[in-house]
Symmetry: D2
Subunit: 357 residues, 4 copies
């Protein structure tokens, strides 16, 4: 109710602050009998980890995961899975300078307005470090989906004005911006390094694809698959927009252009095109699910900005700390995570949709 | 859990099918003591009603609302408010022709895949008629917000290639497309009538504004105000994308361009620009909340399309029924509704955020 | 959240006041494909209906149920089922006399304290008439359970000092107090008529049995089957206690007396005794589930009682209206209803407990 | 949804197994600004700790609590509070002998039926050790209640045939069975030591009192205060029954005996007697809230019992491990915990019941 849980049947609750003792997540509702060990989770954490390349922040958290409960003899037991990462490289010293200032683009001001005060160290709870818990839970979600032949992956589609054109999925994890277009990827890296040098940052667009989702997942009328996915992506830090399939382009189309025509393929009914992005009436239609989200340029920039103090006086601020000059590359595993969490939830929810024959 | 409820503390549950006995909603969690009568609700229903102008469907439902419970002596009692509209002009005859066909762009196929069969008459539960219940509940939400000096309104920003430029809010309800730019509005009407004549349809973009929301509403980290709003709009029929503030444009910006600088105005702290759309870290910052959603062109078009039968055989389909050639004008009150529902929910949720001093 | 919904996956929301326009319920989460018509529901309503015998209130509501949505071609569609009963015989005139008085044993005072005012007519929302909606939903729950070979029934075990000894289940519905012991039933009827003549009322104990529940239903650690059942029964009007299996008697026993020994019977493992009442560690163990609840003597009694006015002044009150002199006989179908609702919910919840092999 | 969370607005999620790496709880919805440190919590854990006296199990867990998140500068921040206790004295060796046997009275069999296998060490998740997390959360709930002048306490009312008569609350924490009647307490201790010597165990009854709850807490019609309390107590290990106020005794009373008459006391309206146990129509009436729960005799007894193996073969079992010969003394803080959790939840829920004037 206070907003730190996500999902209905596969329900995660994250906790922890950027510079507190640790970060963690409790997963309630993971079916019993799934093989699971710490490596399964660690490998996903590596993908979102700080300090992984020259385009990410230099904070170096080992992010060593411990499974505290819910797994016995190598398998999930059906009871809550508690995952824990202790913070190690938290350097709060630089934040003392800004504890009475509101950083532009950050949640400092709004947390103060809501709660009356805040943990100012590294953004406290509003830090992207909170997503460690999500990604850890997402690793489990992905394993469950894999058992159902569903695969979720994401990539950087755009950074600044640079848009990927070639869609070579095998390229994605080979470059540090996670872009499927090798040439554009190189340009993106250069662009990011350039803005970092300028003490500035860049925005971008991530595209997520889920392959293998059967027709029938999603609940009318509020918990539509697309609605739950929109919320899932929009609750990631820095996201300002989400679209499904054709997305905002639909405004310019006519019905005769936008409708996907049904055809038969073997024993399956599919659609010829996929403007719908795999979802009709809030329920999956068996096609690839395709979504995009936009991340704003990182708010922490290494230059002097105008702001006010917590008492409203004019001030200058220079956000030191260590920050990603572009959120996109590390947002890729986060986007996958959120989509995987929604899909597992709806996979489970769909199991009770019909009377047994 | 089966997806027909929305909200946590101000919780609505809608029910009803397009061609069933009626449509309704139960609101649980409306605070006691709010003055309320049927006129308050009826006037909002008129705005979403079919048959209200030459650009909407010709189905003529009076949509006469009855308050069945939860109001006594002119005030809400704190107990569930049940609102009921009986269906009158349901003409199911034309749907018999298509009960074994899958209409492109509709949920026929996905409902069949999920439930094993469907109520094919008028789209059954997946019909936009379901939103009668939402709009009725939204009327109550708006009354509560008004008591807190919060106003929510929406308008058509774009239809096809026509984009409103002049933002004269007093124009909105004066034209039948609900566009704040009088001249563009006229062009929009012509464009809609033109595509209808062609047996086709048009998409569009709706912008929603909430004025007067104080800083502090929204819950980290999953139930962010923007995340809940994204879900709220995305679960409206035909919506394919949602953005907040600067939205997708953020991909092209640098941090130094995108950050809104804090300034003092009297005793309040506000931001100079509003690229954030009134929300930082998922919590309202006191600025106007600004959102946009895109609606795809109506899937029901009055021309022959290819499709398949429920058994997968090739077929031709011509969707007769009565349909809006462009969803946008009637989507305006729906968008307002969803935003109002989310805001009231977070207004209530925020009341428990702090210990009493 | 405001307390008018019950269940997680099979979720009901009731609405309506004793003397309002009607009473109803929306069921969300009923699986698709269940054959259902109004008769299925009406027959359960008859069992809780007022005016059914000389030991019940004389208010005569026909309680004619209408299925407003969620059923098509004789089967549930998976979408919300809205059930509606319009009030007809509401006689509010007698309640005007007591609108400024607090009836002893009733919720008048507490509703005023909570909401600031109340619908005083017939108890408003706190009337047992609210259970019409529950029993209607319970009829559907029972149909689902029947498909899974689970049967729920209840009976009056005790009224005043009269305790049923013979457990002849075939007798239950043959006498108007619903007691399995024919002789005791006759004495119970006499006792009730006697206290009614005295302008007084009697309490009693209802026992509920669920047969055929397989081992494995129930969720650790909070949503235990027994915990959910305890809540389910305790939220019925007039209930002051609930026990499972051996119940309060357990205080006097030793472990060696109380433990049920496991034995094999054919291929099944069962227990020799059933002190546990069919539930171990919150999960069903395959035995009959056995529960009891106590109902207090009806608070509305036809004699002068001391009380205070809403402003705290001393006053005399005589509750006229029409009331059951003993709640027990009509509480039998209500108790069955609540148990059936919990069981269906856990039946559905259990479907996601394990990974598919 | 999988049953490991409790509460709506003050929501706790517990995790951990008896012999796993640790035990913990995440609290979401604790209002910001509550002073809190580890000592506040530790002192409640001491009261439920094993090895605290000669009538409890000899397992000696230090139960050292760590606050991992949600507290900054000595106050709660409004974000999730994660509490962690690492297991230290887990001795799983004795459990290997019984991993293929079903212990009578335990959840071994039902967990196997539900999940397909189980963590057999010390009962795994079904161990009473799980309540460490609850009691830790309950310590916070009690602090919030104290700010609202509400006090919750419990005591042993009965063990075997020994029933406390003198109600001297100052005695409760002075004796190791937590009984308010000093003389009976001594007899209880002797009785427990006697059954332990016999390799047997005893049941008992705990009474819980909440003082200072104002009129108006509780939600009609399902989430009644008494219904939520019934669930809260029934979901504690070993509990087989719950009653409120007069409880099961109500079956034998007439309405004229059972009704509590309203009277004025100063400016407050109270009742002369408290048969209702402080709750009318599911809402607190300002009187003391009084509840009782029965705990069965500990299932683990140190003598040979008949049972079956996991494959259904006849077997003998002797449960070694270390166990309380009577659950009651340590169930006292657990009962207080559950009542405190429910009360805080309803305190928060009640804050949104009315429109601000």
């Amino acid at each position: 109710m206070a907003g730190n849980s996500f999902g209905q049947l596969f329900r995660i609750t994250t906790w922890g602050e950027s510079h507190g003792k640790g970060i963690g997540v409790v997963i309630d509702g993971c079916p019993a009998g799934l093989p699971l060990n710490e490596k399964d989770i660690q490998k996903e954490l590596e993908r979102r980890r700080t300090g992984q390349s020259k385009v990410t922040t230099t904070r170096r958290e080992p992010d060593k995961i411990r499974i505290m409960s819910g797994v016995f003899a190598g398998k999930t037991t059906g009871t809550p899975i508690s995952l824990l990462v202790e913070n190690e490289d938290a350097d709060s010293s630089k934040y003392d300078l800004i504890k009475d200032l509101y950083r532009p683009g950050h949640a400092d001001f709004t947390y103060d307005m809501k709660y009356g005060f805040r943990d100012h160290r590294g953004g406290g709870r509003s830090s992207a470090r909170e997503t460690v818990g999500r990604v850890a839970a997402g690793a489990i979600a992905k394993k469950i989906l894999a058992k159902h032949k569903v695969k979720v992956f994401a990539y950087t589609k755009q950074i600044g004005d640079l848009v990927a054109k070639k869609m070579d999925y095998s390229e994605i994890e080979k470059n540090i911006v996670r872009c499927p277009d090798k040439k554009i990827a190189e340009k993106m890296v250069s662009a990011i390094l350039r803005v970092r040098k300028q003490g500035d940052s860049l925005g971008g667009i991530i595209e997520v694809v889920a392959q293998g989702v059967p027709a029938g997942w999603g609940e009318p009328v509020f918990d539509r698959l697309d609605a739950d996915l929109a919320k899932a992506l929009m609750c990631l830090p820095a996201v300002k927009g989400v679209e499904v399939g054709i997305g905002f382009e639909a405004a310019r189309l006519k019905g005769s252009q936008c409708n996907d025509i049904f055809i038969s393929k073997g024993k399956k009914i599919i659609t010829k095109t996929n403007n719908a992005g795999g979802i009709l009436g809030g329920i999956s239609n068996g096609n690839d699910i395709v979504l995009r989200m936009v991340v704003k340029p990182t708010s922490s920039i290494n230059r002097v900005q105008d702001t006010v103090t917590t008492t409203g006086k004019k001030a200058k601020i220079r956000v030191e700390g260590r920050h990603d000059p572009c959120v996109a590359p590390r947002a890729v595993p986060m986007a996958e995570t959120m989509v995987a969490l929604v899909l597992v939830d709806h996979l489970l929810r769909n199991q009770t949709a019909r009377m047994a024959p």
